[in-house]
Symmetry: C2
Subunit: 335 residues, 2 copies
């Protein structure tokens, strides 16, 4: 079985975007507007149509089985609006992902967006995580380390500001993928330098803080192949060694995992050469950041199964990457 741990509902029916457009228009007039939660009216057939020609077709073509599926990351937009509108938006997005998984229980397992908002305590994020896990059967969440959208104005991940969500993750036994959303800082490009920079930044914050010591059973996935981390594994090992900390492997490998959203063979080979197979989870991010066909291979850039299949690892290691690690990191996954 091949589990893809990183898929977003990037192809949601238009009514979802229209809801958000309306919410943003109200917020343009009054940034502190609360308004009503309202409705997102989407039929089951619209959901089926949005997936059949996209994620489901690509799963079949590529021979992958199950996608761990969450709302569109770039649309989380935690910097937009306020904590109330972020909660309404998040509940709709999560409810829609639940419906996807009900329609295709063998193909998708749900992961939650959280209603974060810059400068706001994580109380409503904890509540939404509980709702999604305890009432809706979600198996994990996406945690945005920078709800400001590229300005990093909230505290770093080592700060106690974040501890309520860590406590809930541990209690509920669900992991978080650390994933930023759309950038509003003109310095960074959302699906390139912003995603990759945030991945690298989040990893270093975990390394330099006491989060992993304070929550020994917590589990984080650093997406997009870990940003710059595996490529610079020697630098990160050397930095902690110079600081007379424990070896990097001892500091992080019980808690931190990397996905395979790296879109060329050389990158996947580096990832699997440097990071133990037990810490790598298969993922493609499809339909996501890069949708084209690589003219040098004739296949989609994000068809990462081809790279993992071609990597020089043992069959046992490949089974870990494709399935075993996902089941260990997401113990609530029962499909």
């Amino acid at each position: 079985m091949i589990i893809d741990c990183h898929g977003h509902y990037t192809t949601a029916p238009p009514a979802l975007g229209e809801y958000r457009d309306h919410q943003r228009a109200v917020l343009d007039d009054d940034p502190m507007a609360v308004g009503a939660k309202g409705e997102v009216v989407i039929s089951d057939d619209e959901i089926r149509e949005s997936l059949e020609g996209a994620q489901l077709r690509l799963q079949r073509e590529r021979g992958t089985d199950l996608t761990i599926f969450s709302p569109r990351a770039s649309w989380m937009g935690h910097h937009l609006g306020n904590e109330h509108t972020s909660r309404f938006w998040t509940e709709h997005c999560n409810d829609l992902v639940r419906r996807v998984c009900d329609l295709y229980p063998e193909r998708f397992a749900p992961v939650a967006q959280l209603p974060q908002s810059p400068g706001v305590e994580l109380t409503s994020s904890v509540a939404e995580l509980r709702r999604c896990v305890e009432q809706l059967g979600f198996i994990g969440c996406n945690l945005n380390p920078d709800p400001s959208g590229g300005y990093f104005t909230d505290p770093p991940l080592g700060d106690h500001h974040w501890y309520p969500i860590y406590e809930a993750m541990v209690e509920l036994d669900v992991p978080a993928m650390i994933h930023v959303s759309q950038a509003c800082n003109p310095h960074v490009y959302t699906t390139g330098s912003h995603y990759l920079g945030a991945d690298t930044t989040a990893f270093q914050q975990l390394v330099m803080s006491s989060v992993l010591a304070d929550f020994p059973s917590i589990r984080f996935i650093i997406p997009h192949g870990g940003g710059a981390v595996p490529y610079h594994w020697g630098r990160f090992r050397g930095i902690v060694q110079d600081l007379q900390m424990a070896p990097l492997e001892d500091l992080v490998l019980d808690n931190v995992f990397f996905d395979t959203c790296v879109y060329h063979q050389a990158g996947i080979d580096l990832l699997l050469r440097v990071i133990p197979a037990a810490n790598v989870l298969f993922a493609s991010e499809m339909v996501g950041a890069v949708r084209g066909v690589d003219p040098t291979t004739g296949h989609h850039y994000d068809d990462t199964r081809r790279y993992v299949d071609a990597a020089e690892i043992t069959d046992d290691q490949r089974r870990l990457v494709y399935e075993g690690n996902a089941r260990r990191v997401f113990p609530r996954l029962t499909t």
Copy 2:
């Protein structure tokens, strides 16, 4: 001959740091203080002593010949003080590097720090670049894409704010290494996530802007192996392809170069597998960000010559990486 294109004067005699401490103390009382430029009194013997047991010893031990040498990057501290104090500090740092190169002309070639300051036009940076190149024989500069120290408050590199320095670089025929300084944003760790994130961010800004089209002969070095870029070469290729831009290679490879400050064999192998040898310049950053010995190899993490020697490239390609590319990128280098 082996040219190391990335070395900083991290071992400067104490009088340099004492000057800066004094300047900062004055600025703590009055952030807009100008004061006098003052003096940094350091003898030739002190300079020799600061290098003999460090950079010069390591050059000899590792069999490298010449280091392209600039003031300590983490000490540039463009976010500290104001444009006047940044200019005084920068002139002292550059003058000291000139003295190093006069004492050891076969071992060091000078590259300039610039007196940048957040929110300030680049007029004095252009003036200092001219002074260093035209009067002092410098062969390049370090350009900080984020003088705010981790908050990215100045315009991105594609903005015309930066064009005066690009125009001077082209006229003087000198390249810039894009290099941030110490971070004051608690989200990022200076020699880890800040350096690597800024490298990735700067690369993407160059790709998405018209800088390289507007200055066809300009040359930039992205240090630290290009941040996350080579590891994610497929993602960057795919992003520009989805945007119907020219192929990534056509967009950047005439102007953008990567150094080899990647501190493990797997990383260097990836770099040299993905990026054409003509775009890779040997570098170690010694004595720099990582100073320890890797227990898995018994050698210093930053002894990057070992990794390049062991990489599977042709002898012609290795000569380009070790010398040929540096001479092409730094045409004013005549040693």
